[in-house]
Amino acid sequence: MSSVIPDTAQTGSGQARHPLTADTAPAAVRLSDAVASIEGRPVLRGIDLTVQPGEVVALLGANGSGKSTTVKTVIGSVPLERGGLELFGSPYAKFKDWHRIGYVPQRTTAAGGVPATVREVVSTGRLPQHRLLPFRRKDREAVDRALDAVGMLDRAEDGVANLSGGQHQRVLIARALVGTPDLLIMDEPMAGVDMASQQILAGTLRHEVGRGAAVLLVLHELGPLEPLIDRAVVLRDGRVTHDGPPPKGAGQHAAPGHEPDSLAHQGCHPHADDDHLTTPRLLA
């Protein structure tokens, strides 16, 4: 009997895991006093958020607290009205190394109007590498590796419209992994994902963290990813209410004898009215 969890679990901070890079390399993400609004409605009211290289940071909070908007300001799809954003030490406006970032958007059920295969969708993640050049063999191999990592290689030629929610999420993650990013940004990766896929996603993420990638995750609750999280940032009404170790209960493990399904509820539940679509099912 043993546990594989320790090598990726609570090491306290990214520095502990990556002593060589952390002291010298600039932060993967440095968002300071970020203010942003969507359609005139203020959503972020001064957010500070830093993700060090190799660090795994979870963004928690209720619906409407600004989690997703924070992530969207980091990737630049929601403009900042005030405050600063640096990616890998460069101000956003000067940042060019997009190949260092892998983005997994919140999964939507809206499909495109034209069929597309799993391979075609994942291949778009390779655009920062081949740019205007033809798609070459090494690009194809990278796509194969990413699909293999999420267990979808055998579905590569299937249409994305025919996938289940969990399979679709795995495809979106493969698309982000195909360029071997230094920073993975994921918006609710576990939402609406079946159990088998949750396990695969947790394993994939563990591997990416082991490789040294930093991760910024938007989560409803820590759930099965809990052992990976170095730090949690809890938002409420567009402000940071907690920045530190995962909230009480979330970072600890249940005492022996607890029912397995109670473990899921140890995850962070800042707001009880949030929907519990995902993790309870994992252990139920």
Partner: protein, 356 residues
Amino acid sequence: MIEMLNYDFMQRALIAAVLVGITAPAVGVYLVQRRQALMGDGIGHVALTGVGLGFLFQTSPIWMAVLVCVLGAIVMELVRSRGKQRGDIALAMLFYGGMACGKLLVSMSAQAGSGSLESYLWGSILTVSPSDLTTIAVLGIAVIAITIGLRRQLFAICQDEEFARVTGIPVRVLNLLLAVTAAVTVTVAMRVVGLLLVSALMVVPVAAAQQLTRSFAATQAAAIALGITVAVAGVAGSYQADVPSGPAIVLLAIAIFAVFSAIAAPLARRRHRAAAEHEVHEVHEVHEVHEVALPTQSSHKQSGHKQGDHSRSADARSGHKHSDQTQEGSERTPGREPSANGARKSDPIASTGLAQ
């Protein structure tokens, strides 16, 4: 049938038909993917103002239409990308304004009442002049180069614009390029299909092709093949039956769509059945992971939390290779190849479950 090739005007009309058959679906596939299938229709309306200006100033209606369409398409793209709440109203103003302005300009021009406006609206094989053909060829080749050459980039922005932005490709420029390309395609196609039906040749071949295809690349290729077929057959039919070419082409395309839909229905049923079988495998997979997930969680509780214990976990991995493989075997769906290094590194939770 063959003797039609003896006429210069038919040769020109057929060459134009081939170019239109390629370009309209090649652009249309991106518009359909982004659920902007009716954008071509809007540009067609706006193009009428360009034709009217051409009539009024006695210059080439095609080039004036290119100019006006490109401006109109850029406005449409800006409205779309800003996501304005009243964007659809703005577009309605643009479309109807363009159409009304066009008719007004034509009626003010010297050629008013000559019936040539009719040929721009519905397409005419008699009116493709040698200089028109040159214009169509130049513009058509540019459209083909963009839509085929930048397929991966354009696919990315139409498939998931936000993700495309994070890959660092110039999404804004590509969006404008796609809008301009669509505008140019409308003007390329207007002589053959007519402004009122130009959008149909952008959309219907794509809709027909995707009844039978699974990939984007195959859809685009099949739509182009269908586009060429219906455009050439429609122009030939227009010569034989003495009807306007636009309606002939469009009705033919719709007929092919109907046939393909009829073929696709049983095919889709079979695919659904295959997918359902796959789901059964997935359920098995779920079940097995489920069984091993529980002991993992409890073992990990009872063992206490060994923080940062790298060597221990490494031992656990290498020492339990056998169980790892068992897990792999039971979890894989039939026919799935093992990964290159043979290890299922992505699933340590499940492997420790058996390792204890």
